[in-house]
Assembly symmetry: C2
Homo-oligomer: 325 residues x 2
């Protein structure tokens, strides 16, 4: 890395260490005073895998944070702070570090959490950003992937498939799109919208819960597997944005691509049928679309059915983060 | 990554998740029940930067863990668990993942901590291993870099410079060395020895404390800076292993190389002069060499003096992890 690591930290990152646990990033570790349960999660994003080399450096910083915030929100928790391990390519201009830190700082403010520690290293490889996020659950119980029960409804927040279209748009694969739609989709790919405003409702109402990052179908299969049950998804009820719906009307469109594309960062959860009204009220309060997309039953695996309940083929079970190859 | 991420985790990593907080790695996060202070630190090691591409995969896993355990030990804390973010190059055989997990598992057992969570990703770049370690301090107070005071002694555990010689030996730059010495030195480079048996003594006796990873002189300068004081190191009292001493007698040897080489992972700390006997007793109990190498005074910066107290020049302030270039 150009410049001494300590200088970079002092100049760009120390101002983000707004929690006493961070020791102003002047020490070797963070010291957190704790009581009660902590939720801890870690996710890495890598250039050419989770983001494109020419994505703005600010949104790369934000995405690294947001994918972790999303993990916490989907489990009914809010972030307190993060540790950041930044592997910075020698070929990238070090002026970009200031913009990286500025982007991260904006989002730390937005999500009310602090930078607690971490490290920075010059790397001969691609830009890689590892974040460990530490959160507090809103309730003692943190919904597990394994907490689903047959008979429960299956729900999803927001809409599915925009980020996948955004990635394709960013690569120039959706040529005929109006510029405004294109920008909106690319934004969904670059900047996940963790459903933090729904995290309290998840803590209160969800059976099983998880965020959808590797494609709805694959992640639903994981939830079904962990809960030892079957999930049925109704194709017609799956929420897509207006733009995605317009795309679905074009000749080469194919709904399954939206269901197996990655980077949605919506919350997939189950809830008992008697909680339908509560889920909808909570969604209204959060200003968020939340859609019942199917249900759980005894058995295993995921099936997709049409509006008559007839099964649709599922040829591909998801996206495994392989932009690069 | 060859094979599904879930299978790899279930097969190789879930057996290492021996703490209930880990939720058997079947969920999206770890849930830690806490009371009192937690110490949290994160460090990444990258192929070609912190380890060599042909280092055994088991020792790479162990090094990633140990550099974090070392951070905790140097602050008077012991590890409870870790989160692992593993970026696995597509070109590396996936059979190596089993060996990586086996090596990590051995060390998790040795240091009595558990794998709590994390993620694995296929990367187009070099192998990169990010670890976040969570620890409990032995005492409420966790010694900071900034806790040193003029008048205190400066101490170091173990010996300085072996890992630097080990790196050079691994690169074939120390030709005339007996094979046994060569292996011992390379081992010091590949496998740091975190001074966990001295962590309780650090918690009880140290003023300022930190581990030495980027070269003794640079890290001493950081400690001096954080404590707003000067440190004087006596060249003749600096502890070197028998092998390093023999190397120092060869024509091209140069003590400053040992003091600015990286990867020592010893504990540098200050303590009040009245604690000398206690420090020595604790070292004996820990079966560890601990050497008084100088002292702190009003002022700033680090100076190195000969046996007459005359200053020696310090041309290079440390090693900044740039094996690659």
């Amino acid at each position: 890395m150009a410049g001494d690591e300590l200088e970079i930290i002092a100049k760009h990152f120390a101002p983000l260490a707004t929690h006493p646990a961070a020791r102003k990033l002047e020490d070797d570790l963070a010291v957190l005073q704790t009581r009660g349960p902590l939720a801890i999660t870690a996710d890495t994003i890598i250039e050419g895998v989770h983001f494109l080399p020419d994505d703005p450096i600010e949104t790369i910083a934000k995405k690294a944070l947001r994918v972790n915030i999303s993990d916490l929100a989907a489990k009914g928790a809010r972030a307190i702070g993060i540790l950041l391990s930044l592997s910075w390519p020698k070929a990238r201009r070090s002026a970009e570090i200031a913009r990286f830190a500025a982007g991260l700082g904006e989002d730390l403010k937005l999500y009310r959490c602090a930078l607690l520690g971490g490290d920075t290293t010059a790397t001969p490889g691609p830009l890689s950003v590892s974040v460990t996020a530490i959160g507090r659950p809103y309730r003692r119980r943190i919904p597990a992937r394994a907490d689903g029960k047959p008979g429960e409804d299956l729900w999803i927040t927001g809409s599915i498939g925009d980020a996948h279209l955004g990635l394709r748009a960013a690569r120039g694969e959706l040529g005929s799109l109006p510029a405004r739609d294109r920008d909106l989709l690319i934004d969904r790919f670059r900047l996940p919208q963790p459903r933090t405003r729904f995290a309290q409702a998840i803590a209160r109402l969800a059976g099983a819960a998880m965020d959808v990052s590797d494609g709805l179908l694959l992640d639903a299969a994981r939830l079904a597997h962990a809960s030892r049950m079957a999930l049925t998804l109704e194709a017609a009820s799956l929420p897509h944005s207006t733009i995605a719906q317009r795309w679905l009307e074009t000749p080469d469109a194919y709904q399954l691509r939206l269901l197996s594309g990655g980077d949605d960062y919506e919350i997939l959860f189950t809830a008992a049928p008697e909680k339908r009204a509560s889920v909808k009220r909570a969604a209204t309060r959060a200003g968020l679309q939340v859609t019942r997309i199917g249900g759980a039953s005894a058995g295993e695996g995921v099936s997709l059915v049409d509006s008559h309940g007839a099964p649709l083929p599922i040829p591909d079970m998801g996206y495994r983060h392989t932009l690069g190859g």
